[in-house]
């Protein structure tokens, strides 16, 4: 907790949008009474030049180091304010915007005094969070060359070229630079891309003579350790079998997918019915002088309609080549009628001039091949007819396997879902993306043509150069909101690494278990589900910590009365839906108090427990639809964490409906309103939780349990894997069985916690009977738990009149 936080609140009148609806003077009075708030002012417009200049001077005069704007949508406005106030050294997290315009002023018809009251609650909660923020120091990222370019994909050429042009050193596999072998086999990865041969050969020559390039002898990557700026890559050399390590500041993975011939399912025989890569070889070696070549773009039938564009483009380019060389050869491209021909108007006219025929066929009837003929169905009359051929050319299958796949695995690029490496579904604003997009280039990322692959390589080289340049100029800072591991607390269980989807978590040395983990701040996207799951709180999301969230929700919960509820809304689903409801003037139940968070998946369950402990009668989380979650599985993980609270509420005799998870779409504010109104009705019917000592002690136990019980936190974490996910290591357990065991463990640990709490409170030898009646739990059950804890050494016992007496271990 930073004691020298000085919080200033600037309240917007915003013309006719806030002032007429909220009693701003009353609001100001209330805020000035709050111990966390040092300064408060009402302003016409906080966000226009006059307002910003005023805030600027107040920050200086009043020595403020936290600024809260009581205004409108932080999604739109925060960036501008952060930028304008940047010279004041207010960093991310030190400026907050509370949307009183869209979440209070316009959304209900309660009196302006009541709206002032509601606004005050939200702003005070924000102030509480700001006070508990302990900003990390801004540290420079040091990244120096060389850059390791791995994977031997074609993007290596453009990536390396860009780097050496910027004067940076790179390490490249020797096969890439020492001969034209790779380039001569271009067609195996990218058939039909003749135009690039010369260009690539030129680049290769340049690379081979550049003083910035060093070659790595042929070998296989076997280990990677370290983080951006300080990588160690170990190879096993092909010739000697010896291990050799290299240091690198950055890595660019240039990986192309492999093209394979389809199997007999498509009559492939490797002689006359062949794959695109093979016809290209024939064209290059002996050429085709006559006959009829039929390209069948069979991607729809092979189950990959999304690649039909690529395949047909390659087919077209080869067809063009064939016809340009020998106009006696007849060429036909057969395609499923669902496909769109991927040609520009100019290419179409070239194709017409060359006499290349594009023939669509009926999507309902799968073509079939016999010797010399292919039978297809006419799309107009649905009559089948035959087309003769001398060469039948099929689309390739695109795959990653063998060494390429292994390299990708070691680099942590292989994703749970999908066959290609572009499986990351973190979809956030560019400043939140780590190095992900520049890390990887080539068709291994996702099938693409050579032009795209080379462009990706170029971009990777450019972005890496920019990063190195910035670092050189001492202008490269580590992002503010990223995870960090406390090596003192981390036991190396590896849970976080399994859950993290951005690939930023690694072990300090090597890949094994038991080693403390380390986060690469240049890759972490700040999603934070990993931090919320660490059983030991060893992993925290810096400048956006669980402590901050707890402080905010606790402050708000303490102020709620009657059946007022909290809605935690995520920045991609719930919050924009709420913002849009507000901006469009929709009305809803004023008892909902909205807190925005980047992702509901970054909330530790102890935050939920804290809300109830501090007096909230209900808590609803409003995230995205699971298919649209922007931080991979954040919303699913939040679901598991809500479930544990539900279980505990039920076990303690509270209604489990007091906490709920809901989903919202930013574009459906009306449905968002239905969601929250159904929840406020539920809570209204339940009423507040009575604040008697037994209830409070139960709520304290729930909170203590989810926050500090490592056994439960461990089980919860393992429970985040869903039954339909198959990519985790080891045999998954039956989900329902697991859940039953989990409930049993919860029951046990909950009672343990309650007993211990009471013993600590009494701090004197206590009899079983007294414990049992105080907890209102059957004596036998309490007995079981307490003897267990005696065995574990958590409780000591003595005898008095031959009755055992218990006392908590110091």
């Amino acid at each position: 907790m930073e004691s020298n936080a000085r919080v200033g609140v600037f309240i917007c009148k915003c013309g006719d949008k806030i002032e007429p609806f909220i009693d701003l003077n009353l609001l100001q009075d209330k805020l000035l009474k709050d111990q966390n708030i040092n300064y408060c002012e009402i302003m016409p417009y906080s966000c226009l030049k006059p307002g910003i200049e005023n805030i600027y001077s107040k920050v200086i005069n009043q020595k403020l180091n936290r600024v809260i704007i009581a205004g409108c949508e932080s999604r739109l406005m925060l960036k501008k304010l952060e930028k304008e106030l940047e010279p004041l050294d207010l960093k991310k997290g030190q400026i907050d915007i509370v949307n009183i315009r869209g979440h209070v002023a316009s959304v209900s018809d309660i009196s302006s005094a009541m709206k002032a009251d509601k606004s005050a609650k939200l702003i005070k909660a924000s102030a509480a969070e700001m006070v508990s923020l302990a900003p990390t120091i801004q540290s420079l990222a040091r990244i120096e060359g060389p850059v390791m370019i791995l994977g031997s994909g074609f993007a290596s050429y453009t990536a390396a070229h860009e780097l050496i042009n910027n004067g940076f050193d790179c390490l490249l596999p020797s096969e890439i630079i020492e001969s034209d072998f790779i380039i001569n086999n271009l067609h195996l990865k990218y058939p039909g891309e003749y135009v690039y041969y010369d260009k690539l050969k030129l680049i290769r020559k340049e690379l081979s003579t550049s003083k910035h390039v060093s070659a790595i002898p042929p070998g296989e990557l076997i280990r990677l350790s370290g983080v951006t700026g300080d990588y160690k890559l170990t190879f096993s050399e092909n010739d000697s079998g010896k291990e050799k390590s290299y240091k690198a500041g950055a890595i660019i993975a240039c990986i192309d997918s492999d093209l394979k011939a389809t199997d007999a399912e498509f009559w492939y025989d490797g002689q006359k019915v062949i794959c695109q890569t093979e016809i290209e070889e024939i064209i290059q070696n002996k050429g085709i002088q006559e006959g009829k070549v039929v390209f069948w773009v069979n991607d729809y039938e092979a189950g990959y309609p999304e690649f039909s564009n690529l395949s047909s483009k390659s087919a077209w380019s080869m067809a063009k080549h064939i016809r340009e060389l020998h106009n006696r050869v007849e060429v036909i491209i057969l395609y499923n009628e669902q496909m769109q021909i991927p040609l520009s108007a100019e290419e179409r006219s070239i194709g017409r001039k060359l006499g290349i025929l594009w023939l669509p066929y009926d999507k309902e009837v799968r073509p079939s091949i016999q010797e010399g003929y292919i039978t297809v169905c006419n799309i107009k009359d649905h009559v089948e007819y035959d087309i003769s051929w001398d060469y039948m050319v099929l689309s390739p299958e695109r795959k990653l396997y063998g060494n390429t796949l292994k390299t990708a695995q070691i680099l942590g690029l292989v994703h749970k879902d999908g066959h290609f490496l572009a499986g990351r579904h973190v979809r956030v604003r560019p400043e939140m993306v780590g190095r992900e997009e520049m890390y990887l280039a080539g068709s291994g990322k996702y099938p693409c043509n050579l032009n795209d692959a080379l462009a990706q390589g170029y971009k990777a080289g450019k972005k890496t150069s920019e990063m190195l340049q910035k670092s050189k100029a001492c202008e490269l800072y580590l992002p503010r909101i990223v995870c960090a591991v406390d090596p003192q607390k981390c036991v190396g269980c590896g849970m976080c690494q399994e859950l993290c989807d951005c690939g930023g978590i690694g072990a300090i040395e090597g890949t094994g278990g038991g080693l403390p983990r380390i986060v690469d701040p240049m890759i972490c996207t700040g999603g934070g589900t990993c931090a919320a799951s660490c059983p030991y709180h060893a992993l925290i999301l810096q400048n956006n910590t669980t402590d901050q969230r707890e402080a905010r929700i606790a402050a708000l919960s303490r102020e709620l009365s009657g059946s007022e509820v909290i809605g935690i809304a995520c920045a991609w689903g719930g919050l924009p839906a709420a913002d849009n409801a507000g901006a469009k003037g929709l009305k809803y139940d004023p008892r909902l108090h909205i807190l925005g968070v980047p992702c509901v998946g970054q909330l530790d369950p102890c935050i939920f427990a804290r809300a109830f402990l501090e007096g909230a009668p209900g808590l609803i989380l409003i995230g995205c639809n699971p298919d649209e979650c922007h931080h991979s599985y954040g919303i699913d993980h939040a679901g598991s964490r809500v479930t544990i609270i539900k279980k505990l509420l039920t076990m303690c005799g509270f209604d489990r409906r007091r906490i709920a998870l809901a989903h919202a779409d930013l574009n459906k504010p009306e449905e968002f309103i239905r969601t929250i109104e159904s929840f406020t009705k539920t809570i209204e019917a339940l009423g507040p939780i009575e604040r008697n000592s037994i209830n409070i002690s139960k709520l304290e136990s729930i909170y203590g349990l989810v926050k500090d019980n490592t056994r439960i936190r461990h089980l919860l974490c393992a429970n985040l894997r869903r039954p339909w996910e198959h990519s985790y290591k080891g045999e998954p357990r039956h989900a329902l069985e697991y859940d039953r065991d989990f409930s049993d463990a919860l029951t046990e640990e909950l009672l343990n916690t309650r007993v211990l709490r009471l013993l600590r409170l009494y701090n004197r030898p206590t009899m079983l009977q007294e414990l049992s009646s105080n907890l209102m739990v059957d004596k036998k059950k309490v007995g079981e738990r307490i003897w267990d804890m005696v065995n574990e050494g958590r409780v000591q016992y003595t005898h008095k009149d031959s009755e055992p007496m218990f006392i908590a271990h110091a």
């Binding site: 966000c47 739109l76 406005m77 879902d417 999908g418 922007h630 930013l666």
Partner: protein, 200 residues
């Protein structure tokens, strides 16, 4: 401090402020449409016109981009200003007749119908460009643009197909003053896991 007058009232501003910013600081209302506090002004819609008067001349300027200067005389409600405003509202009523928001605002300024021909009765976008500006300046992307489709411009993703560039943050929907982006966003954003299924 720069001193000048708005509606004969003495006001003070600092260099770099616009006339609109100064007016708002003094609680003087000037209607705007293509202006939003979170992005740079573009001066496209001209609804925020005010009149500058000297002894023997006067001119209309867009207050959202016009910088303040010493001694100018600004009038926000002259007949000329009101005429232009009416004219702009009539234009808007013909260009985006289906926007409830535009209709309401026009009504507030006494404009109920238009003399101009209605091109497309279902159009609600007024091409103010706020959506593309917020996407670029605030989100940091260029998922949408004003597309030139012959005579008729349109806002949307390239080829009007869902684009992977869009991160579906919804800032464009929130900022859109006519609500047009609401019906358009689904042709811009693409579903995250749909892309995944493609990769699977």
């Amino acid at each position: 401090m720069i001193k000048f007058k708005i509606n004969d009232k003495e006001v003070q501003a600092r260099s770099g402020w616009t006339v609109l910013e100064t007016a708002r600081q003094y609680g003087i209302e000037i209607p705007t449409l293509c202006f939003h506090e979170s992005v740079a002004s573009s001066g496209a819609c001209r609804l925020c016109m005010v009149e500058l008067r000297e002894e023997n001349w006067s001119k209309l300027v867009a207050s959202c981009i016009y910088p303040v200067s010493e001694g100018i005389n600004v009038y926000t409600e002259t007949e000329r200003v009101q005429n232009v405003r009416r004219w702009i509202f009539e234009m808007l009523l013909s260009e985006c007749p289906s926007s409830k928001e535009v209709k309401e605002m026009a009504k507030k300024y006494g404009v109920f119908k238009t003399r101009f021909p209605v091109q497309n009765p279902n159009e609600s976008c007024m091409l103010c460009g706020l959506c593309t500006r917020v996407c670029e300046e605030v989100v940091g992307l260029s998922a949408i643009a004003t597309l030139d489709r012959g005579v008729h411009k349109k806002v949307g993703a390239p080829f009007l197909r869902p684009t992977e560039v869009c991160v579906a943050c919804g800032c464009c929907v929130t900022i859109c003053p006519t609500n047009a982006m609401r019906s358009r966003i689904d042709s811009v954003r693409s579903n995250t896991k749909m892309q995944l299924a493609k990769a699977a």
